[in-house]
């Protein structure tokens, strides 16, 4: 069966583009275009200077052709004068992708009521339910708007969790990020809507560098979900994002990702190179950050959504399903850095690989010397559908004697016996495979917001179509 990626189309849209290439001028031009304050321009320039001193990392389990950073564009924005004047082609694109650009659909009950920030290439093109959220004091807008309207918050938290010196791609992002989502939940507020950002790459030969910053103040709660797709170009597209989360005392952030970037074709031609730095800081006592990710796309994925458990009694969670097929390479996992006392973390990672793909779990659990009585539980399971490869690379660092780290891992193939049993009861082979794979992922899917759990199941079965043979 031929593999289908229904989101792989291109929208014909006029755009404002920068010429390919990355110099100091590129950054000054970008910063000026966005009318940024001097501190932000300096932040970018510091990152750019640092970038000149460091080298792109070379990973043990990930291979791709060298990226020519001077050959790609760093800015491409669909042309329209304001957000009420979005070209019909763009509206049609998001309609086709099932992303509600208008509040109307949700109010009519045609779409789940979630607030959405939609980012196409380098800019945010629409944000919904802002007024309703503002009634609760919640700020939900593009990061460019936040820089203009809430500079004190952005300045305080931008780069506070992921330093611009963190790693090569974080440095690159800090220099050239063009847009993204900002979200602030005030003290004591439970965000009444799911917040959602949808990232769409449309322009050829253009990197997407977005930043997400979420701050949950004391005693607040927010559930946020991001989704993404891209056209089926024959060359690679670079996506290097940063996500920073800050949870204050007793605050909880639930961050879910359904990553469906174009994975390339069966022979590994094209696809998105997905180099993402995601990190959450449990700053206050009793705070909680939970990452859930369903990764089916991208030619290469390289990301480790992590938690710094600084507040005493804070909690970090990481639930992941990563599916690879054909020539895809996924190197993903998490870091749980226990700093405060009585901190707890849970890691559940499910890798499913088929074809010639390689699926690696890379994780680190660090129990700091003051993280007394802390606990981690890690479970890494790999399911190999044919001659693909699965690797588990856990690291544990223990600097105190009262903490407990548990690690369980399993590797296996689909059980012939189970497939036969289900077929004896009338399930087709394909349905039986689907049932076994979704069963394998169940403990992770349960963590997704209800509206998206069914979609994740569907995405998984579409992804697996033709992957088993």
């Amino acid at each position: 069966m031929a593999y289908e990626y229904p989101e792989g189309f291109v929208t014909p849209v006029e755009s404002d583009d920068f010429e390919p290439g990355l110099t100091k001028e590129t950054i000054l031009k970008l910063s000026a275009l966005k009318n940024e304050p001097a501190w932000l321009t300096d932040f970018r320039l510091n990152a750019f200077d640092h970038l000149q001193k460091i080298k792109e990392p070379n990973w043990s389990t990930v291979n791709y052709k060298p990226i020519d950073f001077q050959a790609m564009r760093y800015y491409s924005a669909p042309k329209f004068t304001n957000k009420d004047d979005i070209p019909q082609d763009v509206l049609d694109t998001f309609e086709k992708l099932g992303v509600p650009l208008h509040e109307r659909d949700a109010l009519l009950g045609l779409a789940p009521k979630v607030a959405v920030d939609v980012i196409m290439d380098s800019v945010s093109i629409a944000t919904t339910f802002q007024a309703e959220l503002a009634e609760h004091g919640i700020i939900f807008c593009s990061i460019s708007e936040a820089v203009q309207h809430h500079p004190e918050l952005v300045k305080k938290y931008l780069g506070s969790v992921v330093s611009y010196k963190d790693n090569y791609f974080a440095t690159l992002n800090s220099a050239v990020f063009s847009d993204g989502t900002f979200c602030y939940i005030p003290k004591g507020v439970r965000c009444p809507l799911e917040l959602n950002t949808y990232f769409r790459i449309n322009a050829r030969n253009t990197g997407q560098f977005e930043r997400t910053l979420i701050v949950a103040d004391d005693d607040s709660f927010v559930s946020y979900l991001e989704g993404c797709t891209a056209p089926a170009f024959t060359e690679n597209t670079v996506h290097a994002a940063i996500v920073e989360l800050v949870a204050m005392t007793k605050a909880e952030i639930k961050y879910s990702t359904v990553q469906n970037w174009y994975p390339g074709d069966e022979n590994g031609i094209g696809g998105v190179l997905n180099f993402v730095t995601k990190r959450g800081l449990c700053k206050g006592d009793y705070s909680k950050i939970s990452w859930t990710q369903v990764e089916t796309g991208s030619a290469v994925t390289w990301k480790y959504p992590s938690c710094i458990l600084r507040g005493d009694n804070s909690v970090g969670e990481f639930y992941s399903v990563a599916v690879t097929k054909h020539q895809q390479q996924a190197d993903t996992g998490t870091k749980m850095l226990h700093v405060g006392k009585n901190t707890r973390s849970t890691i559940i990672s499910k890798g499913i690989s088929s074809g010639n793909s390689i699926n690696t779990y890379r994780g680190m659990v660090r129990m700091g010397k003051n993280a007394h009585n802390s606990r981690n539980y890690t479970e890494c399971d790999s399911l190999m559908l044919n001659n693909s490869r699965a690797l588990t690379l856990p690291t544990v660092m223990q600097y105190n004697s009262s903490s407990i780290v548990e690690h369980e891992a399993s590797t296996g193939k689909l059980s012939e016996e189970a497939l036969y049993y289900l077929q004896c009861k009338g399930l087709t082979e394909e349905d039986a495979i689907n049932c076994l794979v979704t069963g394998f992922c169940k403990s992770v899917f349960q963590q997704l917001p209800l509206e998206f759990a069914a979609e994740a199941n569907k995405l998984l079965s579409v992804t697996l179509e033709g992957a088993v043979g």
């Binding site: 016996e417 189970a418 289900l422 077929q423 004896c424 009338g426 349905d431 979704t438 169940k442």
Partner: protein
Amino acid sequence: MLVLQDVSISTDNKEILNNVNLEFGPGVHYIVGPNGAGKSTLAHAIMANPKYNVTGTMKFKDTVLTDLATWERAQLGLFLSFQNPTPIEGMSNFRLIKESLKMDSTKKIMDELNGFKGLAADLGLPSDWDKKELNVQASGGEKKKNELIQLKMLNPDVAILDEPDSGLDVDAINDLIIQLNNFVDTNKTVIIVSHYEKLLKSFNPATVTVVANHTTTQTTDATTVDTILSNGFKDFA
């Protein structure tokens, strides 16, 4: 009508059964024989278990089964109740029914779920049986009851039951007998693989097949069961 003509079954080039000629019409049929003679093998070969190589001809409802996959045979109306039902993690007991019957409307799902819950309650299973993981952490008896629920819900034309009584207590066996009688009353076929005296004395079988010496012997003489129960299989050795 399920017909086997000149069927041979082997695994890893080891011959298990040869020259198998059997016919199963409506009613109850017994398959008996000494341990390890190949009774379960016969049941699984009918369902195209990939472990076995089968030559000869099997026909069901005038369709030749040779090229049909396991699920195609099941969808044609064959059903196998397992001696040791396979655990399926992350899948609920009811999901199997839902997937197998391809339920699309919410109403249909609700109706079938109510039917499922009723059957589970009748068999004394816990009230959340529909949500429990399929054959995971269930006792031997519970698994057998679940196989019986599947039989009732999926409503095949031919049910092959491999040791359906093992793990069941006397009350549950009485339930099983009642359910199977109801099932054959609708002109269906039940093929029972069993050693158990109570079960073998509970029906008036249409045929009795003895599996021994790498082959099968089928008879319509129901008294064969009594002979075996008193003398064992030595007459067939």
